[in-house]
Symmetry: C2
Subunit: 199 residues, 2 copies
DNA sequence: CGACATTGTTGTCAGCGCCTACATTGTTGC
DNA sequence: GCAACAATGTAGGCGCTGACAACAATGTCG
């Protein structure tokens, strides 16, 4: 007979929720269903997440943290050169976005809801990383000059869009590397062609 | 006293649904709520849409038709030159995507579900238009050479991503023109700079 | 005009999120 | 060591939803 108190219910809920999100998407995620899987009563989750949305917020936060980790790991593994780092970052982002499509969607839809300051804060490290990459690229003459926000947004949009295309089946997953390469060439293609591929 | 038969219930449902989608998003759209607004019983919609999903499919279909219309109108209004037409298309796509964000999301999420052949078919004209624009751009030397599918996907991804950024609040709507211009320059920036802006 | 398909209505079901009341367990101050 | 209290679980219920079945009104056509 299981003990009255689960003890790790919050963690168990987050894990089950992340799996459910990956397998069935946000719409299908049900607090009562999670409770059944874990073996607690239907109202138990309420002690840890006052409503469904707050569980989703928590998922979004941990999602941003993991995204940041994976981006930094990719940069670290790519060596010193700018273009390899850029390529690795783009690929890591899109890989995250396609492996955890529903989570990423949730991360962004959560981020701009009123009262989601925690989520916004959790998103910052990853954004800071990307922003830094733009600024450095411009400083080194690899990227087009101009407002880093504007350049960065378009780069970011391209990454996000490629992920969306793969997720919606418009692009086959095997195309990932090709699309990343095309995108990177587009980013660095505006500056003089010499040495673009060397760095 | 209203007549027993509404007479235009299907149309009325689609209109109310599109408005509800725009105002409150897909999640909030309720068949019973639509029925109440229109003034029929809660089960009446079932005669026209056997379940909720089939209504969403119908919305997605008309959405693709309207997207195609608006893209063609934009191209027609842009004159003969390639770059102006490209710019107009990109802007028209993003404008549609931001004016009807929830609808666009629905259009794409519907498109890749099993059994959505009607939606896929409805999407074709708009995609054909975009594809033709790529091929023509390459033929005229305005765009980078290479597999049109690959080039087109990245372009399309960029558009889609910009729309997502604006919709999620990551980019302010006032930036639209700037972002479109940055994106277009990125597309045509890979070929020799001469005459890029003249077309 | 009568058979039949179409398009409505009413009633019911299970599942959901959210809420309240209550039970059990862990913790802390006397 | 135990009483008070906070934390965390259970049980039950509310109103909402989508889906379904049985029935009623209406339009259509032989």
């Amino acid at each position: 007979m299981p003990p009255y108190h689960h003890g790790q219910l919050r963690t168990a809920l987050l894990e089950a929720a992340e799996r459910s999100l990956r397998e069935n998407g946000e719409e299908q995620l049900s607090l009562r269903e999670l409770a059944r899987e874990i073996g607690v009563s239907h109202a138990a989750p309420r002690r840890h997440f006052p409503d469904r949305q707050s569980l989703l917020y928590a998922l979004a936060e941990t999602g941003f943290a993991r995204l940041d980790e994976q981006l930094r790991a990719a940069v670290a593994a790519a060596g010193e050169g700018y273009v390899p780092q850029l390529r690795a970052t783009v690929k890591a982002y899109i890989t995250f976005a396609t492996d955890d499509a529903a989570l990423l969607e949730l991360m962004f839809s959560s981020k701009h809801r009123p009262g989601a300051e925690q989520v916004v804060a959790a998103a910052e490290p990853a954004f800071t990383l990307l922003y830094g990459l733009i600024v450095r690229g411009q400083a080194e003459g690899r990227l087009a000059a101009g407002d880093p926000e504007r350049i960065g947004l378009v780069m970011f949009a391209t990454m996000q869009g490629i992920a969306t295309l793969i997720n919606t089946g418009l692009a086959r997953p095997e195309l990932l590397d090709d699309l990343v390469e095309t995108a990177v060439e587009q980013f660095v293609g505006n500056v003089k062609a010499s040495s673009v591929r060397s760095g």
